[in-house]
C-alpha cells in the first residue's frame, strides 16, 4: 500500500491576510521577520479572498525532474521534497519547473528555498490566529492500518463514492482476524460481505441474520465461543433500518443483558439498499421513495418526511451500555479512537458505535462529495460527535460551539432541495434543541 503523508491544509474562508504565518516561517527559517523570505506566501486581498503559494510536496514532482544536480528528492518516508544545499548549484531551474510557486529564490541567501514542514511541526500552523492553517496528521492511521491484513475481499460492489467500504475495511482491519461478523440485510451484505455463489466476501466467519434477530443471534454465537474458551470479537455491522426499526427489540435486549458484543450501526438514514425507503432515522423533510415530493393527496402537498428522526445513540446511552459513541468518516482520528475504545468495551459488555454515513445515491449528491457532506453534517451540528461510558458520562469529542447554519449542510444534497423556509427553520430549530438536549446529558452524566 502506498504511504500517506501529513499535510498543511489551508481554509481561505478563515484567513484575513494578517501574515502571522509568514512572520513565523521567516523567523524560524531565516532568523528575520522579513515576510518576503517566508516559504509560505499568502497572496490575494480582502475583496478577492486570500490564497496560498506553498510547496505542495507533490507525489510526482516536476521540480525534482528538472533539477540537474540531484539536489531535490522526494522523501518517501516523510513525503517532503528535500532540498540538499550541498548539491544545489543555484541554477533556478526548479523555479521554472514548478507551476505553483512552491520553490522560489530567497534573496537573503541567493539560494532557492521551500517548505520542509519544519520536520513535521510546521511553525506557520500554530502562528495562525484564525485557525486557517491546520496540520493534518490523519496519515499515521492509514500508514499503520495499511500494514494490517484487509479482511474483506477486493472489489466490493458499493455505489460509487460510498464511504461504507472504507468503514468496513478499516473496522475489520482494526478488529482483526479473531472476529465473527454479523451483517443483517442492508447495504453491507448488498456490497458483498456475505459473498456470492457460496464463497464469503470476508476472510473471517460471517453470517446473515434476519433484520429482527441480529443482536440475539450474535449474542448466542459469542456465548458459544466463550463456552469453548475462545476469545473472539463478536461484531455486527448493521444499517439504521435494521437497528432502529424491526431490529430494535433484539438490540435493546442484548444491550440490557450487557452481552459482550460490538454493535456498529452504519446510519445512512433510510433503507437505501432496497430502494431508498424512509426509516425511523430518516430526518424531517428528507425525500425518500416513500416520503416523496409532489401533489400529495387531500389538498396536502407531500414535502418529504413529516416526522423527526429517532435519536438511536441517545436511546442506547439510556441502556447504560459499556460504551456508546457517535462517529463520522470525515473525522477518522476520532473514529479510530472510538473504535479502539469500543473493541475494549466489548470485552466487558455491550459496546455501541453509531457512524453517520452519507449515501451518494439516496441523498443525491455528487459521488466525490461524501466526505464533504459528512464534514458539513458535523460542522452544522446536524450530527454531533460524542462518546459515553457509565463511569465518565457523556463528552463531546468535537466542539459543538460556533456551528455553521444548517443550510450549509442541507444545500449540499438533493434530498433537501425542495424544503420550504418553514421546513428549514423547523430543522434548524431541531438542531438547536438536540444540542441543548445532548449538552444537558453531558452535564448530568458528568
Amino acid at each position: 500500500m502506498g504511504k500517506s503523508y501529513n499535510t498543511i491544509a489551508f481554509d481561505s474562508n478563515k484567513c484575513d491576510g494578517c501574515g502571522d504565518c509568514m512572520t513565523a516561517c521567516a523567523t524560524i527559517k531565516t532568523g528575520t521577520d522579513d515576510k518576503a523570505r517566508s516559504r509560505i506566501q499568502i497572496v490575494g486581498s480582502e475583496t478577492d479572498g486570500f490564497e496560498l503559494a506553498l510547496c505542495r510536496q507533490c507525489g510526482d514532482p516536476k521540480c525534482v525532474t528538472v533539477c540537474p544536480a540531484a539536489a531535490l528528492t522526494k522523501n518517501f518516508d516523510s513525503g517532503v521534497i528535500d532540498w540538499d544545499a550541498s548539491k544545489c548549484v543555484d541554477c533556478l531551474l526548479c523555479t521554472v519547473g514548478c507551476a505553483y510557486a512552491g520553490i522560489a529564490l530567497d534573496a537573503g541567501t541567493g539560494h532557492v528555498a521551500k517548505c520542509d514542514t519544519c520536520d513535521g511541526a510546521p511553525a506557520c500552523v500554530p502562528a495562525c490566529p484564525h485557525d486557517a492553517l491546520t496540520y493534518i496528521t490523519t496519515s499515521r492511521i492509514y500508514n499503520e492500518v495499511g500494514g494490517w491484513e484487509d479482511l474483506f475481499a477486493p472489489g466490493l460492489a458499493g455505489c460509487q463514492g460510498c464511504n461504507t467500504e472504507l468503514l468496513m475495511r478499516h473496522t475489520l482491519r482494526r478488529v482483526g482476524p479473531e472476529t465473527v461478523l454479523a451483517t443483517p440485510p442492508g447495504c453491507v451484505p448488498g456490497m458483498g460481505s456475505v459473498g456470492f455463489n457460496g464463497t464469503t466476501g470476508t476472510k473471517i466467519p460471517v453470517f446473515h441474520p434476519l433484520l429482527t434477530n441480529t443482536a440475539a443471534m450474535l449474542a448466542g454465537v459469542k456465548r458459544q465461543y466463550k463456552r469453548v474458551g475462545r476469545d473472539v470479537t463478536a461484531l455486527a455491522i448493521a444499517g439504521d433500518g435494521g437497528a432502529s426499526d424491526v431490529g430494535f427489540q433484539s438490540l435493546s435486549g442484548a444491550a440490557e443483558r450487557n452481552e459482550q458484543i460490538l454493535f456498529m450501526v452504519v446510519d445512512n438514514e433510510g433503507y437505501m439498499n432496497t430502494g431508498m425507503q424512509r426509516s425511523s432515522c430518516t430526518p424531517y423533510g428528507a425525500w425518500t421513495s416513500t416520503t416523496p415530493i409532489g401533489k400529495g393527496s387531500g389538498g396536502m402537498p407531500s414535502q418529504g418526511k413529516t416526522q423527526d428522526a429517532k435519536n438511536l445513540p441517545l436511546i442506547m446511552v439510556n441502556h447504560r451500555c459499556e460504551y456508546v459513541a457517535t462517529a463520522s468518516t470525515a473525522y477518522m482520528e476520532d473514529l479510530y479512537d472510538k473504535l479502539d475504545k469500543a473493541i475494549q468495551a466489548s470485552k466487558r459488555g455491550f459496546a455501541y458505535l453509531h457512524v453517520y454515513s452519507p449515501c451518494t445515491t439516496g441523498w443525491r449528491f455528487p459521488t466525490d462529495q461524501n466526505m464533504e457532506v459528512a464534514r458539513k453534517a458535523v460542522e452544522t451540528n446536524f450530527v454531533m460527535l460524542w462518546e459515553y461510558n457509565p463511569k465518565d458520562g457523556l463528552h463531546f469529542t468535537h466542539s459543538a460551539d460556533e456551528p455553521l447554519p444548517v443550510t450549509e449542510y442541507l444545500k449540499a444534497m438533493g434530498r433537501f432541495r425542495h424544503l420550504s423556509p418553514d421546513q428549514i427553520s423547523h430543522i434548524q430549530g431541531k438542531v438547536v434543541e438536540n444540542l441543548a438536549f445532548v449538552k444537558q446529558m453531558a452535564h448530568r452524566e458528568n
Binding site: 490575494g44 525532474t65 540537474p68 544536480a69 531551474l93 521554472v96 507551476a99 510557486a101 522560489a104
Partner: protein, 419 residues
Amino acid sequence: MEQTKYLVVGSSHAALEAVTAIRMHDAEGSLTLLTRDTHLPYSPTVLPYVVSGRSPADSIFLRDEKFFEANRVAYKRGSALKALHAERNTAELADGSEIAYEKILLATGAAPAIPPIPGLDQVSYHVLRTLDDATKLNAAIKQSKHAVVLGAGLVGMHAAENLVKAGASVTIVEMAKQLTDGYFDATAAQMIEKAFTDNGAKILTGSRVVKLAPSAIGALLTLENGTTLEADLLLVATGVKPNMDYLAKQGGDVEHERGILVSDTMQTNVANVWAAGDCAQAKGFYSEDKVMNAILPDATEQGRIAGMAMAGDPGLKTYPGGVPLNTYHFFGRHAISVGSSRVPDGGEVVTRYDETSGRYLKAIFKDDRLLGIYGVNEFFDGGVMCQLILRQVDLSAVKERFLADPLTVGRELMSKIWR
C-alpha cells in the same frame, strides 16, 4: 537476439522521464535502457559546476544502479546505438549486436557542433557536453593563463566565468552582435557583458575566427580583422547538433531535418519509433512549425509524453509546443527568460530598468496575453509565468500591477486559475 518491449536510448533527462512514465503505467513490460555514456546518469546542465569544482563529479548522479534494479530496467551503459533498423524493429549496437524492440525511444540528445574553421583540427581544444569533457576541462582551467572561448551562448559564458574565477585571462569570441544571443535581449546582454568585463574578461562580439594553428603554448587564432590571439586553453562552445547519425546509415525512413521530426505525442513518422529531448524537433508553442527547443525542462516534458504514449497511458495529454525557458547565473546575479523574444505584429513590449538596483524587466504581450518575460536581478516564478503563457491568460485587468510586481501578481493569478 535479445528482445525487449521498450528500448530507451540515452540516459539523460528525456530518457529518464520516459522510464518513469512507462513504469507508472506498465510495471512489468521488459524495458531496456541503452546509453553510450559509461557513467551513471547525469545532466549536461550541471557540468559547468563540475568544471568549477563546486560539484564533486561523484555527487551529480541523477539515478543509481538500485533505481534501475528496483524498476526492472536492463541498464546497459557504454553501448551506443549504431544503426536503427526500423523496418525490422531492431537496433544495431556499436559492437555489432542487435536488440529487437517493440517500441523504441530515441533520446540521444545533442553533441557540440564543431565549426568548420581551417586549422581547428590541428590544435587541441575542449568541448563541454559529457562528464569526461568536464573533468578534463576542470583539470585544464587550473593550468590556464590565457584562455579563449569560442561562442557566447550559455555554455561558453558559464565556462568563461569559471576561467575568470580560476585566474586566467579570458577572451570570448562571438560571431553575433551580442552575447547570449537568442536567450536574452540587447539590454540584458549588456548587463551580462559589463559583469564580465568588470571582472577582467575580454569580449569580442561580432568577430569570427578564420584560422587556427598550433603554437608554443597551445593554439594561435587569427580573427577576421587580422588580429591574432594565443590560447593555452581553447573551448569550442558554438552550439549543438543532435545525435542522430544512427539514422543516416539505415533507418533513412525516419524523417529528420535539424532534428528528428516528431508529432504531438513524440512519435516519428515510422511505426514504433519515438524521439524526445535535444535530438527531437517538435512543434513550437508559438507556431505550428517544428523547432529545436534544446533545453532541459522541455527534454523532461517530451520524455514524459513519449513514455506515456509508448506505454499507452490514457492520461496522456498532447504536447502544447515548446516554450523557451532559461535561467542563468553570472557573477552572483541571475537572469530568467520565459517564452518568446519575438515581437509579433500588433505585439506590445514593456520594459523597465532601474540603474541603481540593476533590476531589469521586459515583457512582451499580444492582445493582453503574455508571450514572453525576461528579468535580470528581478525574480519571478518562471513556472507560473510559463502557465500564464500556455493558458493564454487575459491580463488586461491586472497588467500594470503585473509589470510592477510579476512575482506577487503571478502567484495571485496562479492561486485563482490553476490551484
